[in-house]
Symmetry: C2
């Protein structure tokens, strides 16, 4: 008999090649966790993440699940203890719980929240160097809020997707974009039912171009309608991005 264990993870993505396992020279979050589960159980156990994070992207609440024999793991708490004992200190299991057999961290996710933080001051603190994008320019936050409002709702976000060969639907629902000022830092918080490859970073890059006066808020509809990556702004760099939270149906 197997248990289906859901884990909530926090990680500093700075020194990893992202979430998703990569063949032989593996230096990924998924690879680290699967390596420990293999050592524990003696068999290959695949973990399913709620979504990939790119190299250098961080998580405060990534969710994953895996199936493991009850002979090896009797309680979810055992899994948390074992993983935290062997994980490097930049990856932590915050919560582990047993789920119904059919639970899948990606397929059952209802909403996800990401944050992206930018430093507008000329200089970024050394303590922020891996966690904040050093833009170094002043942003017009009110204008960015107007542009953000144009992006809310269900749209085809093809223009905000780096994967040009994407065959599946690129329609997603963006529930909110909060833009928070804290001293010289600006944080964008995105919540929606799903995000395409690089979507948060391209949304941020585009909003930054609005905040810098390079684009008008009214252009957002045109960018959505273009369904072409070239129409949107830059892909903001990875270090400012955090996967904050993944919600499931109760």
């Amino acid at each position: 008999m197997k248990k289906n264990i859901k884990i909530v993870l926090e990680y500093d993505g700075s020194r990893y090649d992202g979430w998703q396992k990569q063949g032989n020279t593996d230096n990924t979050i998924q690879g680290k966790i699967e390596g420990i589960l293999k050592k524990w159980s003696g068999e290959e156990i695949e973990i399913h993440g709620s979504g990939r994070t790119d190299a250098g992207v961080h998580a405060r609440g990534q969710v994953a699940n895996f199936h493991i024999h009850t002979k090896i793991c009797q309680t979810a708490d055992e899994a948390k203890q074992y993983l935290n004992r062997y994980l490097p200190d930049d990856i932590r299991v915050l919560v582990a719980e047993e789920m119904p057999e059919r639970f899948h961290s990606r397929l059952n996710a209802v909403t996800k929240t990401y944050s992206y933080t930018v430093e507008t001051a000329a200089r970024k603190s050394v303590f922020d160097r891996k966690y904040v994008y050093g833009l170094g320019k002043t942003l017009d936050v009110n204008t960015m809020r107007k542009a953000a409002a144009e992006l809310i709702g269900e749209h085809d976000f093809k223009s905000f997707c780096s994967n040009k060969k994407m065959k599946k639907s690129t329609v997603r629902r963006l529930d909110s974009i909060e833009i928070i000022e804290d001293g010289s830092k600006v944080t964008f918080v995105y919540t929606g039912n799903g995000f395409l490859y690089n979507m948060v970073r391209i949304l941020t890059g585009t909003l930054l171009e609005v905040g810098l006066g390079m684009r008008k808020p009214g252009e957002m509809k045109m960018i959505l309608n273009a369904m072409n990556r070239e129409a949107a702004g830059i892909t903001a760099p990875p270090e400012g991005l955090f996967l904050v939270n993944v919600e499931y149906e109760k």
Copy 2:
């Protein structure tokens, strides 16, 4: 002719063996800076720090000064630019300014401020792993404030000094200890006219023992009077400690 340049530095001390240069296998902040000044000027230039920081201790506003030929460096801003170009990304010059010839960053310092942050929750965030001490226990902040009040003023702090062979005076003036709660974190902010070797970490260790109910606030006077390191509490670990600011006479 030489200029006397004062620099204000920010650094993440995590991967260094502290401020003070050490012979051959040097991996110190002072060593990094002097190495760059030597490359620039072609001669050995000694920098004088306002004080040493231990391995793993950070700075938001360390101050240092050095003398350099006007042939090499015409303006303080040139020194800032040159250093920041070659310094690793965990050490930054925030400010550089030309000072009168007699200015000395240690001898002329009037007050210094340090902060020390503790996580009282069971688990420390991965993002805090190098910057916060993971105590993992609840603290009685009001009782710690009572103990802190007993330590304010001019005292012989010999009991709070790790250097047992200290021959110079161990009398210092502690102007304030602020204890700030922020969620599950507690930060101690110390300002005084000077601090002995490990003094901030021993003050913090002792106050933590009060906050945990292992000592009474009234014991502080006794500890000061003992003039013996054994009388005080533990030396709190380095990662929670930041040199925040050094003040000079205007």
